[in-house]
């Protein structure tokens, strides 16, 4: 009887799918070397089983604020237990690859901490940790290639059993394609959808979206597939002066389905609509029948646990609808693996060669230039390689999933019952090759006209800004669109102040020019006068930094320094600090300013101030919601 060779365990903690992509690549490379692999999301793995494992590879992402991805929170908490001691993982071998962004202060903190903790628990590292960096010219792949190389040679040296065919066995990449992750079943149905196709039937729409999205490759295990509600737009107003520089809009929506009770500081996730012509173009290019009815299921493989909730879904959906709702064809860029698989299906020799080149370590940088930096869309890539005909199953797996976009809600339900407001920056930019790109969701929302009654599928969830009770003094820092959640805070406090006393609120806002992009200026001014919640008379304050209105740059942190005494006094009364905005630097600049303020006003040295702020964070009184 053949002895089964050892199995390498790969655990990944992914937030946006990058760590999953890396983990799957490591698994494929292992496969090429005849090394058996078991790949699991870290939240599907019981940490208490770790001591029994021979060798484990961790692929972990660090979020912008230095935190673990949601899927890793339970596992990490388990590992941090003091009573595990330092022999708990003796005999276990491991390697860590981290994905992060060196533009952030807390660069790859999750991978660094994990690496150290595993070693402290008695485990042995096979190789040094690898750190993928988004800031690198070719992204995380640059660190991944050499790290994987070391991994195979390192592993071969200490655990040759993983490679039953010997250290030099390697299936050439051109021969290895394997099976797609999904299988698509076509159904023979006549007119299934037509009797229920009235668009005012929300239950139906909700089910349809739920079905499609739960079948999609982009489904994150804890995400809800069915939208919580549908909204219709009732107002679409520009907040910035017309220019090519910035276009920020104020949107007001009403519930058309059931009303969801939300709180200030909550997040609204929106499923954007794709351009109809683009969807048609894609379907035509890929020789698909838009009218056919399909169901999509994961192909059963040892390495992919069948998602239980999927087996209940036997209701077929129109292919065009599935593409429209789940496959991003004209906005997001595909990953490296897309190009690798394309090369198998290219019939023109020069296309095949080019695709193989792009997928290789030598071509990595050029791929980055052509694809990621240009924000090349799937449609554009398929247009550039016309001989490629990819089977639909592979497209389902590899076309980037259509993602919801998240926004901080800018209204208070107390002030605007049955409504939800958003403050949205309509993004556009020019690529290195001088092509104009627009943000999919922001552009779509900006194009909506209330009279059209388009229904918007949305989800509500908590963000990182818990709603403050009226008795909590606040220091709010929200430049640019960061002011959105604080509009809700202030409006809510204004309503609450009518029936009881509310604690003071300090708000620091910043933008480029007083006359161009001073968002909601009338609102803030009205609340900072006449004993409003932001008025100095009531212990509060409203301060603005206009960065480009004078020769030197003035930002929120400078305004905070000017008000250091006020801030210090409010902190003394137990104030909580909230920071929101869209910048990599702003939250850390604000933190530095706070350290300086605390140090200056209390007379304590900087180190004490830093420690004090950290304990404020731990006590749940320092909240940051930063988006890029």
């Amino acid at each position: 009887m053949e002895m089964k060779s050892k199995q390498l365990l790969i655990l990944y903690a992914t937030q946006t799918g990058n760590a999953l992509d890396v983990a799957e690549r490591v698994a494929r490379e292992a496969d090429r070397r005849a090394c058996r692999v078991l790949i699991r999301s870290i939240d599907e793995y019981d940490a208490s089983s770790l001591p029994a494992v021979d060798t484990v590879i961790f692929v972990v992402s660090t979020t912008g604020q230095g935190d673990t991805p949601d899927s890793m929170k339970g596992f990490w908490r388990f590992l941090l237990q003091r009573n595990l001691g330092n022999h708990w993982l003796e005999g276990v071998h491991y390697a860590v690859f981290g994905l992060g962004d060196s533009g952030y202060q807390k660069y790859n903190f999750v991978a660094k901490k994990l690496d150290k903790r595993l070693s402290d628990l008695g485990a042995t590292a096979v190789i040094e940790r690898g750190l993928g960096d988004d800031q690198h010219p070719s992204g995380y792949e640059a660190a991944l290639d050499p790290w994987m190389s070391s991994l195979w040679s390192g592993l071969n040296e200490i655990k040759p059993d993983f490679f039953p065919e010997g250290p030099d066995f390697l299936v050439p990449i051109e021969e290895l394609i394997g099976q797609p992750k999904f299988q698509v079943t076509y159904h023979n149905i006549d007119n299934m959808d037509s009797q229920l196709s009235t668009t005012t039937d929300f239950k139906y729409l909700q089910m349809q979206i739920g079905r499609a999205r739960s079948m999609s490759s982009g489904k994150v295990p804890h995400e809800k597939s069915k939208p919580d509600a549908f909204l219709k737009m009732v107002k679409n107003l520009p907040l910035t002066k017309a220019s090519h520089e910035k276009d920020v809009r104020h949107f007001e929506f009403e519930f058309v389905s059931q009303v969801i009770q939300y709180e200030v500081g909550d997040i609204l996730e929106v499923l954007p609509s794709q351009n109809s012509a683009a969807v048609d173009s894609f379907i035509q290019r890929c020789n698909l029948d838009p009218e056919s009815f399909i169901t999509v299921h994961p192909r059963e493989m040892e390495n992919h646990l069948l998602d239980n909730s999927l087996t209940a879904l036997d209701v077929p959906i129109k292919l065009r609808t599935f593409v429209e709702l789940t496959m991003d064809v004209a906005s997001a860029s595909p990953r490296r693996y897309f190009f690798e698989v394309m090369s198998f299906f290219a019939t023109a020799e020069h296309e095949k060669e080019r695709l193989q080149y792009f997928a290789s370590p030598e071509g990595r940088d050029d791929l980055y230039q052509y694809n990621q930096k240009e924000r090349r869309t799937v449609l554009e890539v398929l247009e550039d390689f016309p001989s490629v005909q990819m089977p639909f199953e592979w497209l389902v797996q590899l076309v980037p999933p259509l993602k919801n976009r998240a926004f901080s809600i800018s209204s208070s339900p107390l002030a605007h019952p049955n409504q939800v407001h958003l403050t949205v920056d309509v993004v556009s930019w020019t690529t290195p090759f001088k092509r104009k790109r627009w943000g999919l969701c922001s552009t779509w929302l900006a194009s909506l006209v209330p009279e059209e009654r388009i229904y918007i599928p949305v989800w509500f969830h908590k963000g990182l800004l818990p709603p403050p009770p009226p008795s909590l003094p606040l220091v709010l820092i929200g430049p640019g669109t960061g002011c959105a959640p604080f509009r809700g805070f202030v409006e809510e406090r204004a309503v609450q102040s009518q029936s009881s006393t509310v604690a003071p609120t300090l708000f620091f806002f910043g933008c480029r020019n007083k006359h161009n992009d001073f968002l909601y200026n009338d609102l803030w001014l009205s609340h900072s006068q006449n004993d409003g919640v932001l008025s100095e008379a009531k212990g509060g304050g409203f301060y603005t930094a206009f960065s480009r209105d004078q020769p030197q740059k003035v930002y929120v942190q400078h305004k905070m320094q000017e008000q250091s005494q006020r801030i210090w006094n409010l902190l003394g009364e137990g104030a909580a600090i909230y920071v929101a905005g869209s910048s990599t630097k702003m939250p850390s600049d604000v933190m530095v300013a706070l350290e300086e303020i605390i140090s200056k006003e209390s007379g304590a040295p900087r180190e004490s101030a830093t420690r004090w702020l950290r304990s404020l964070e731990k006590a749940g009184k320092y909240h940051v919601e930063a988006w890029s």
Partner: protein
């Protein structure tokens, strides 16, 4: 919560109505509970519900009976959580042919992630392959704990915080080196390789060359009657060299007019 002494609100959720009735009797028998004491609300086909038609904090005990291998999805856990009173209990009953331990642990984990506490699992003695997973909705209200209970001393440098002594301080895992501001990666050397870009600190003049090329306006003639010495210009950006004047434009056929970018994201604003 002493279920035997007082009437409590019980909710039973199932995905199979007929199965539920028989199971309930078996379960209550095995748990030595008098089924006459309870007058449960029963909800069937729960998997198709987005929300439970009940007020928040209304139900003391929720029993979910899973007929097949499908277990509650997370949105249903969130709903169950909402309708339970603080301190209330959820029990998930299910059956599985194999890997029961793994299945029970997986459910327990998802319950914990949904906010439940005190999860534990057990096997039913009376019914083969049948198990239960129990968990509680914590009895403290979530979200209110950040108003500090004690009045702060005037010197805010003394701050009360929860001391989690059974977990180590994760920041202690980082070295001095780790905490320093990270170095942005150095852009590659100036060697002209297969890559197209000049480095950020280019001293060899390549950057100037690239800039000159980018400023080259395509003439109308080039757009109407495109020619290509290398033969690659018409193939699209994937095949063009870094100095190609047609960079950024869609693919075209030699001699045929080049269509300017047909990007489907053109804003209709």
């Amino acid at each position: 919560m002493d279920l035997k002494s007082e009437r409590s609100t019980v909710l039973v959720i199932t995905d199979d109505a007929s199965y539920a009735v028989t199971s309930l009797n078996i379960i209550w028998d095995s748990e030595n509970e008098d089924s006459k004491r309870f007058d449960p609300l029963i909800i069937m086909q729960a998997s198709s519900l987005a929300r439970l038609p009940l007020d928040s904090s209304y139900v003391n005990l929720v029993i979910y009976i899973a007929r097949s291998a499908e277990f509650p999805v997370d949105e249903l856990y969130a709903e169950i959580f909402r309708v339970l009173v603080p301190g209330g209990m959820l029990v998930v009953y299910g059956s599985s042919k194999s890997g029961t331990n793994e299945v029970m642990s997986a459910i327990e984990r998802r319950l914990l992630l949904a906010g439940f506490s005190d999860g534990n699992h057990f096997l039913l003695n009376s019914v083969a392959q049948c198990f239960g997973v129990k968990a509680k909705k914590p009895s403290w209200k979530i979200g209110s704990s950040f108003a500090i209970k004690k009045k702060t001393v005037k010197n805010p440098l003394k701050i009360e915080m929860d001391d989690d002594t059974d977990l180590i301080d994760e920041d202690s895992l980082l070295t001095e080196e780790d905490l320093k501001k990270p170095q942005l990666p150095l852009v590659g050397d100036c060697e002209v390789g297969t890559t197209r870009k000049a480095c950020k600190n280019c001293t060899c003049g390549r950057a100037e060359q690239e800039e000159k090329v980018q400023k080259l306006e395509l003439t109308m003639d080039q757009l109407n009657n495109p020619q290509s010495a290398c033969g690659n210009c018409g193939l699209g950006d994937a095949f063009r060299c870094s100095t190609c004047p047609y960079k950024g434009l869609p693919p075209f056929k030699l001699g045929e007019k080049v269509s300017l970018s047909g990007n489907f994201l053109t804003a209709d604003i």
